[in-house]
Symmetry: C2
Subunit: 477 residues, 2 copies
């Protein structure tokens, strides 16, 4: 796949352009498909997605979630059952009106999300408390006619994701389950070496048809935030219109309590924007498809012994459990260095004739550190990778803490928000104040911390009346 190499834009010159360069040249996404927002996920980008999938899927199954698959087309009549939900989605759904050249009797929508079709089936399956909890997940593609403007991975029109949908016999059970979901997403963020803020969104930004939404917000290097997985307490808002009822232990008919939760390929975009540098992406070792790439340094007459040693080093690293790749293409070593840096491989292992003679390799971390490792002690590469993961996580935690600033009033907010990041202020909880804060500052209330009540330290940012919540304010993607 011949392509001009190297990134021409630095992050602090034009973050958006830098990002587009990295996703394309780093082999994550190709946007040159014939339709805007419908991008091609390239093999390297897809391989990162597989890493995330495997990790999440294992966790889901450990917690009793079953995978299944539901139809992609949803008849209009079914979506209309939950009105708020329908209002929220009809504006962004693609509609099928023809098949085999003939007009269809009923308009079909392409799923932007699957609540309606899944809950229609749930109502047929659930009869008794013995059928609960029902915990089903789908790995699929969804399509949204987003009009805010598209961005590869971050805001595509078609995206790959998982959507989990559960039914419980009580609200308490549903909320307990959401805690487990949050812990599974936290585990994903740990693998991504990203320190997120886990927030409960204000009412205005809650998922259509939910009581509340728990979201993961990540601060990107341009000072804006991007929303990761959302986990929603749906309460009985869907079980009533969709008639998901069960007989409880006393034989009384009850409506089920529901949750839904999902995460997508956006995580890959978030990771690039959070960790990347002017050379390209930086992938944390736990999700990098290749954790180490071996680049042989070839000189005339020495090719064979270097390649043989490289092959043997690869095999040893593989046996140590590393995901390792030997790049034996015809290209120059410099070309390969650039390419794997662009792609974000955490560790580069160089082997030249001198290394072979000395019985060692040169290990270059994507974070810049250079080490010599004895071939007899290759397990040190494992330790290096663990250090890279830790170092990335530590940098992320520091980046978050350094970029949360307490603000006491609007002037304070406007001044401190210039540098980007989160502003931590107080809010009376009125929707009017929320809207005014956004209108005046361009920053929005992202929510309150999930699972941890914080004590107000000032009055409401907007109205100056006594505040109810400590909220995090930021500019969002």
């Amino acid at each position: 796949m011949s392509e001009e190499m190297g990134i021409s834009t630095k992050r602090d010159e034009d973050f958006s352009k830098w990002y587009l360069d990295v996703v394309r040249k780093g082999g994550f996404v190709d946007q040159r498909s014939p339709m805007k927002g419908f991008d091609v996920i390239l093999p390297w980008g897809y391989a990162v997605w597989e890493m995330l999938q495997q990790r999440l899927d294992k966790n889901f199954k450990r917690h009793g979630v079953q995978n299944a698959y539901f139809p992609m087309f949803i008849p209009e009549s079914l979506i209309k059952k939950e009105e708020k939900h329908f209002e929220g989605f009809k504006a962004e759904a693609f509609a099928i009106t023809e098949a085999g050249g003939e007009k269809l009797e009923e308009k079909l929508f392409v799923r932007p999300t699957s609540e309606t079709i899944m809950y229609h089936m749930y109502s047929l399956w659930i009869r008794s408390y013995k059928d609960l909890p029902l915990k089903i997940n789908q790995w699929n593609n969804v399509i949204r006619f987003d009009t805010k403007g598209t961005k590869p991975l971050i805001r595509p029109r078609e995206f790959l994701w998982q959507e989990g949908h559960t039914v419980h016999s009580t609200k308490e059970d549903a909320e307990k389950w959401l805690k487990i979901v949050v812990s599974m997403y936290k585990d994903m963020y740990q693998a991504l070496a990203i320190e997120p803020l886990v927030l409960v969104r204000p009412k205005s930004d809650t998922f259509a048809g939910a009581d509340y939404s728990i979201v993961f917000d990540t601060l990107l290097q341009d000072g804006k935030v991007s929303q990761g997985p959302g986990s929603h307490l749906l309460g009985q808002h869907f079980s009533k219109p969709f008639n998901i009822k069960f007989l409880d232990e006393s034989g009384k008919e009850q409506y089920g309590w529901q949750t839904s939760w999902g995460t997508s390929i956006r995580q890959i975009g978030i990771t690039i924007c959070h960790h990347g540098d002017d050379k390209g992406a930086v992938l944390p070792p736990e999700v990098a498809p290749y954790q180490a790439v071996i680049v042989p340094i070839l000189f005339k007459g020495k090719e064979k012994e270097v390649l043989e040693k490289a092959e043997s080093v690869k095999e040893q690293l593989r046996q140590l459990g590393l995901r390792v790749h030997l790049d034996d293409r015809e290209h120059s070593a410099g070309f390969k260095f650039n390419e794997w840096e662009l792609r974000g491989v955490p560790l580069r292992i160089e082997i030249g004739p001198k290394d072979v003679a000395a019985g060692e390799v040169t290990a270059v971390s994507r974070l810049g550190q250079k080490d010599k490792i004895k071939i007899s002690e290759l397990s040190e590469a494992k330790a290096l990778l663990e250090n890279i993961q830790k170092e990335m996580a530590a940098r992320s935690a520091k980046f978050l803490i350094d970029n949360i600033k307490d603000v006491h009033n609007m002037d304070d907010l406007k001044e401190k928000s210039k540098a980007g990041g989160f502003l931590r202020g107080n809010w009376c909880s009125s929707g009017e104040c929320e809207a005014s804060i956004k209108a005046e500052s361009g920053h929005e209330i992202r929510g309150t911390l999930y699972g941890k009540e914080e004590k107000c330290f000032a009055n409401c940012l907007w109205c100056g009346k006594p505040a109810k919540h400590v909220v995090y304010v930021a500019k969002a993607y």
Copy 2:
């Protein structure tokens, strides 16, 4: 998921009805979704799909195939580039004409298969012989407005599949690759314990835009055959209109040589129809999501010790590498026996108070054999599973051989075809004779053996002139 248990129809009474019963009650598919042909793949059915996916995906990667993802919507203009291909598919494609409530400028088709969108991208990626071979696979959903009538898993309108698409620098390379593809699909059939016929289809039934198509035909218990994976030599039929060109080693511009190949959830339906019995599905151990299910036999006062022993047996079997499930639900043992037989679990392990006392369990094979196994010798369960796999494969091979009958003329064909199965005859290779054979007998020429030339033993079935090929004739789904 409360549901009436047990199958009311026997295979030889009404095979179709038996099949619908098994897929629904065995937990494979629920057809009660709001649209015909758009079925729900239930957790048990999806778990079988995951088993097949894992096996194939590992093989693909071992042979250098990379996974990627391409957009689901394809603009009309792009599909039109390969005319024969467009003719073949436009009649069965769903069309999007609206998004967000507004009419789109260009009609979009929902992919029935992805040649066009993938090859559009390939033409941007490939420049030099160094970029070849390019071997990319997608795991996705495709949608076809099939008008022949739908059948869950076998002929749904939306199905899950994989589609692999390669580009090579020579025809020889492309054909060599197809041999590897066939070997990977053979491995899948081995896991399914099914003996297929691997055939090259006659021209009339070749994939639209291909030079030839290699397919796997499986004989089902009703005497009809169902087509599994198809692997196609596309030659330069797509590379020319899509402009997939490369500079060869001498610097000359050449068009690429292509292949495409895919297999789908239909394999699950084929497996059920091939191996199932009047009690339900019979899954071969290599693809069964649970290879063994432990059913504790509970008597009042003895529950605790039986359950504890069952738990310990489960843990030991798990450590032996078995996929094992302990069914500790409140239902009766008889209910559980029925359910797991319906689902096709290869081995049932019963433990009652007497077994606990004797330090043993009762192992009941889905094929009917009953054994006592000492708890100190649980590895015998592994041997039992291997035997079940072998026995199923042997039965399948015998079933195929017993149901291939040589025929010398049309009367012979009509007489012997009454019992179903394959008829092996001779053909002059003319399209008219092929059409006449089908019109007269209702049976079609499925093709010639792939990779093995057979010597004609009679004249053409229809015209009586000298024959060119030994062909296999059958009634197809």
